[in-house]
Amino acid sequence: MIQKLVDRLLAPAPQKHAGVMGIFEYVDDAAAAVRALRQVGHKDLSVYSPVPHHDLEHALEQGPSLVRWVTFGGATLGLTGGFSLCIYSVISYPLVVGGKELISLPPFVVIGYESMILLGALANLMGMLALARLPQVKSKAPYDPRFSLDKIGIWVPCTGDDAARVEKMLRGQGAEEVKVHV
């Protein structure tokens, strides 16, 4: 029973993808292919790799991730929220302890600081998941398990004639395998 459940979870979902998938072994080949494809106009291609490579990143001309802004928002919220919580609590129920000020800022700094880090990190996580579209249920491209091992895959969504052209380009750049999906 459990075996069947596990099998069902692990089985890849049948998906419809239209495009060309090229599998490369060498990084410089893949980077050259990416540059070439982007020059021709296929800017919406995806590159799958087990580790990120600087060559590929440069070829793709990716900008910096926008996660940082979500993080910044979260951290600001945390800092102000931490202080607000402390100040609200002593105003709502004023209890004097140790002869100290009700709104004693030095200890509240610790709370504000930790809240800043907590909410900043949570926002960082949420931002990353949202922008990277994780957890991913439906895949955008036919995934090959070798992409987590040692191979690089370039997926170019296209149809018909385009697909044939892309296939030729990929083979020209040294792809190990090229497969057209319709």
């Binding site: 105003i91 709502s92 129920y93 004023p94 209890l95 004097v96 302890v97 140790g98 002869g99 100290k100 000020e101 009700l102």
Partner: protein, 585 residues
């Protein structure tokens, strides 16, 4: 016979007369016993009625006598003649031993009648601070000669018998004398007294003092030998040395009153710390160096109404005082009507420890037994600290005398209490009237407050002393009947400490409000103050300029324990007077 002649509802108690009648009947003595003691007594009074109650019927005579408490008649006073001055023979201790044996009545048990009271067993002896047992006091040099250290076993042997006791090394006893307290060593008498300690009377030969007929207490010489095994000596305070911490201070009489006896030993000091700050209407707390914004007491100004929170617990719930009812802008703490504080005169304190027992009684403090006291877990809210200071030897030949000082130490109710800041759940906070309040049902038991208290006056409930089903139950029948209903009985895991008898404060305030009069100094007495035989403890309101505590807190003799820590205690100590040598104090 008065006042209670009925059976008590909770115990099967009888009046003494009823007991005698019941005994007589059950012993099978055949007589026509009266039905009840009342009948018997009335029958006995019939002749009196004949003689003195003519003209009234018996019932009227009886009732009037009962109301007045009796009937009296004049008799001629007999003449008294002094006989010859009795000659008291000096005591002659007999025996082979090297030390004279002194048996003295224990301050807690006297002759042993108090031994079944757990409070008294747990009360640290004023001299040795030992609990739940017996000991023999030996001079350190004598003990060194025997090879005995503090707590080692010593066999004390006289002609009549021998006992094994732990040794307490005490420089205040003569080198050729040993002393053992009386009162322990019961073989029955109750669960707390049974088989506890040693009965030193076993060491005395059967002799009577010729003049008085009492037991001849000073009649034996004892032989001392060290033994390996000994009953344990459990003490709450092992070290009687102050280590220059300034807990118990003295002031030479000459400094207090140069040139002679002062008229009043509580003369105010010239300039109190914190005085002269100039703000109108503020009364400085004597121990504060700097005025705090929230905790300085303030006199009511003209036209100011008593705010709701400054009255008593008897005010209806809608207008109850609580920090939330007063907005912060008005400064919840500034409108307090009272600032409770205490002053303790160390010159009057004899170390008798009656205050300790009174506190146990008033505040439902559990006794924990010798095993737990050995681990430092006694629950006392007030303890008498005993410090022995060596004075400089008056002349080169005499050994330095020991000056013994007692410091009753309880929660100091500090203005800047270090314990309050560190409690993560606000289980302890400073209430508007200057008390450091402990909220038992908020306490989660982190114990940080006790760590931060420099006086170590906080007691933690390590076990469930209040759960009847557990063996640590401290109030087995009938002790539970003694519990004060005005005070919570705390469960395990909760910290507790002196509250300055806040239940009595509330009662005093409530009574004053009911009688529609202001509180007077002396209306409220804490249990320790009430029980102190020398009135060393004074409690009152610092905001009342006429109160005794206000005067004493500003005396020249005043000081505060560990004041270098700036805790600002609410308990002021008055230095002991150091009288000039040879004045016989």
């Amino acid at each position: 016979m008065q006042p209670a002649t009925q059976k008590l509802p909770m115990f099967d108690a009888k009046a003494p007369g009823e007991t005698l009648l019941a005994l007589a009947r059950s012993a099978g003595l055949k007589r026509a016993w009266p039905e009840s003691w009342m009948d018997y007594l009335k029958a006995r009074w019939k002749p009196l009625h004949q003689r003195m109650g003519r003209g009234k019927d018996f019932e009227t005579f009886w009732r009037e006598s009962v109301q007045k408490g009796g009937v009296w008649e004049e008799i001629a006073s007999p003449a008294v003649r002094w006989g010859a001055t009795p000659a008291f023979a000096p005591a002659e201790p007999k025996g082979q031993g090297s030390a004279t044996l002194v048996l003295y009545p224990s301050p807690a048990f006297y002759d042993g009648r108090g031994a079944n009271k757990s409070w008294l067993q747990e009360l640290p002896d004023p001299t040795t601070k030992a609990v739940w047992g017996s000991w023999v006091e030996i001079h350190p040099e004598t003990a060194a000669g025997l090879g005995v250290a503090m707590g080692d076993g010593v066999k004390v042997e006289t002609e009549a018998g021998s006992v094994v006791l732990p040794a307490y090394l005490y420089p205040g006893i003569r080198k050729d004398t040993v002393a053992i307290p009386l009162g322990q060593g019961h073989t029955a008498y109750g669960r707390y007294a049974k088989d506890r300690g040693v009965n030193a009377l076993a060491l005395l030969p059967q002799a009577q003092d010729s003049a008085s007929g009492a037991v001849a207490y000073l009649s034996a010489r004892a032989k001392l030998t060290k033994v390996a095994a000994a009953p344990e000596l459990v003490m709450t305070q092992r070290d009687k040395n102050q280590h220059e911490r300034g807990m118990a201070r003295v002031i030479p009489l000459a400094e207090l009153a140069p040139g002679g006896t002062p008229a009043d030993i509580n003369l105010p000091r010239a300039h109190a710390p914190g005085e002269g700050s100039g703000e109108k209407g503020h009364i400085e707390l004597p121990s504060q160096h700097k005025l705090g914004k929230y905790t300085e007491p303030r006199l009511m100004q003209e036209g100011e109404k008593t705010p709701a929170h400054a009255v008593t617990a008897f005010v209806p719930e809608e207008t109850v005082r609580g920090p939330r009812q007063i907005p912060v802008s008005q400064g919840s703490y500034k409108h307090a009507q009272h600032r409770w504080a205490m002053a303790i005169d160390l010159h009057s304190c004899t170390g008798c420890s009656a205050c300790v027992v009174a506190c146990y009684a008033e505040n439902n403090i559990p006794t924990v037994g010798p095993e737990q006291v050995k681990r430092g877990r006694e629950m006392a809210w007030i303890r008498i600290e005993r410090y022995e200071e060596k004075l400089a030897a008056p002349s080169g030949t005499q050994a330095a005398a020991n000056d013994v000082r007692f410091v009753p130490m309880m929660c100091q109710h500090c203005t800047s209490a270090p314990c309050e800041t560190v409690c993560p759940v606000y289980a302890t906070y400073h209430n508007p009237e200057g008390l450091n309040a402990q909220i038992y049902n908020r306490c989660v038991g982190t114990r940080y407050c006790s760590n931060n208290c420099p006086y170590k006056v906080r007691a933690f409930n390590f076990f469930d002393y209040a759960a009847p089903e557990k063996e640590t139950f401290a109030f087995p029948e009938p002790l539970n009947w003694q519990l004060n209903p005005d005070v919570t009985v705390r469960s395990r895991g909760v910290m507790e400490k002196c509250t300055m008898c806040v239940q009595r404060i509330l009662e005093g305030k409530g009574n004053a409000r009911d009688e529609e009069r202001p509180l007077k100094d002396g209306d409220i007495q804490t249990a320790c103050q009430q029980s102190c035989p020398t009135q060393a403890i004074t409690f009152g309101d610092l905001l009342d300029p006429e109160s005794r505590v206000a005067k004493l807190s500003r005396a020249q003799r005043a000081y505060w324990a560990l004041d270098e820590l700036n805790t600002g205690p609410g308990v002021t100590y008055l230095k002991e007077l150091e009288l000039p040598a040879g004045s016989g104090s």
